[in-house]
Subunit: 215 residues, 2 copies
DNA sequence: ATAGGATTTAACCAAGTGGTTAAGCCGCAA
DNA sequence: TTGCGGCTTAACCACTTGGTTAAATCCTAT
């Protein structure tokens, strides 16, 4: 903690407070207290609240989507990549459960500055990559023909929602922090299987085996 | 508009503003303007901001989860109910896309007052109903053996996330309002199929038909 | 006509907010 | 030792916010 530069300490503190309370709910005073320094120094380094916020927002947005990008551009089959995506996303969320809700909440305010940061992520390209990958696999017959848009959103849904809805999940299943983590582990496996199952071309592989057994 | 009682007008206005900006971001002045009356009258009817907010919050929470309850307690097979759940939830979200994000954002603040309202929804019972239903169908062999917790959360995920992430979806697929709605229609069908597929007991039904064709 | 509740106006308050300023302290390098 | 940049302190400012008050007006049922 004390080893960090002041700039870094401020950013960490701001990150924590903004993720907890959002832009509107966060107080500069809280950030100063969290970073264990005073308001004056905050403004000395990062002039305004908006300024500091946009820095954090862009950072988190980037961190999150560049991870997706990396996995999609990496090696492996489509189904491998999807499993990896889910696993990586859920691990990221386990480490920082408030991340997604933070990003989506602020995006929902539809302030031009946030939307601009979003555009810089080139999600459009990211999805185009995914779609190309999917279509290739469909052509090869490795994967059933499915709607790329829906599939991609569903991958994000399944790996993101449990964290966005964490208080709800805790209440619904009467869980504590520990039970939640073990739930997430189950969820990870079940979700991979759900999508794998969905992508299986017809039921032929299973069918052939069963027929062999019958004969 | 003008036909509504003042109380009602205030509640509608408050609902709109709170859903847009959340508790921290909403201003009493904005609510007054939206309801086309003055701040004094706001406080005359609903003493404090917190007060008004909790009323709205409870209302929306209730409306949303009582709908789920009704479908689960209604007639039909499990798979029917799941399709109905998805369809109903997504229709509700189409009519009011900010609802889920609003509820989840405020729950995430973990203020005791919001959590208390959540507890009143008896989600625990709602889930118990669902689990009992599922287990009965599994016993009858109509449905594959799956984890109830995961399935339930996934149903919520798939029908909720596209709206929570609407700005992201719009950006990713380069859509406008109209394209989004048509996307949602596709999403609705694909999601129903995804879950139906997942719940199918092994691949036996399909298998039998295919074997009949082979013989 | 009039009494009583609904509504408006406008002034006001205290607390909190983001942000500024300036004087001074501290540690370190020249 | 001196000087300088990082840092603190504390006072301060303008503005916003939730909330109050009191007088004035409007509407309507009796």
């Amino acid at each position: 903690m004390e080893s960090m530069s002041t700039e870094q300490r401020i950013r960490e503190a701001a990150r924590k407070i903004f993720l907890e309370k959002g832009l509107a709910g966060a107080r500069m005073q809280d950030i100063a207290r969290e970073a264990d320094l005073n308001k004056s120094l905050l403004h000395y380094y990062y002039e305004t609240k908006e300024n500091l916020f946009l820095l954090i927002f862009e950072d988190e947005l980037d961190k999150f989507y560049s991870q997706l990008q990396a996995i999609l551009n990496g090696a492996g089959s489509l189904t491998d990549k999807i499993s990896k995506l889910i696993s990586a996303e859920m691990d990221a969320h386990l480490a920082c459960p408030k991340l997604s809700l933070f990003i989506l909440s602020e995006l929902n305010q539809e302030t031009e500055s946030c939307l601009a940061k979003l555009r810089k992520c080139r999600l459009h390209e990211l999805f185009r990559n995914f779609k190309a990958l999917l279509e290739k696999e469909v052509e090869l017959g490795n994967v059933r023909e499915v709607d790329a848009e829906t599939l991609f959103v569903n991958i994000l849904s399944l790996s993101t929602y449990p964290f966005i809805a964490k208080p709800l999940v805790l209440e619904m299943f009467d869980q504590n922090e520990q039970a939640f983590e073990s739930y997430i582990e189950r969820h990870k496996k079940a979700t991979s299987k759900l999508l794998e199952n969905y992508l299986q071309p017809s039921h032929e592989p299973g069918l052939k085996e069963d027929i062999n057994q019958l004969i």
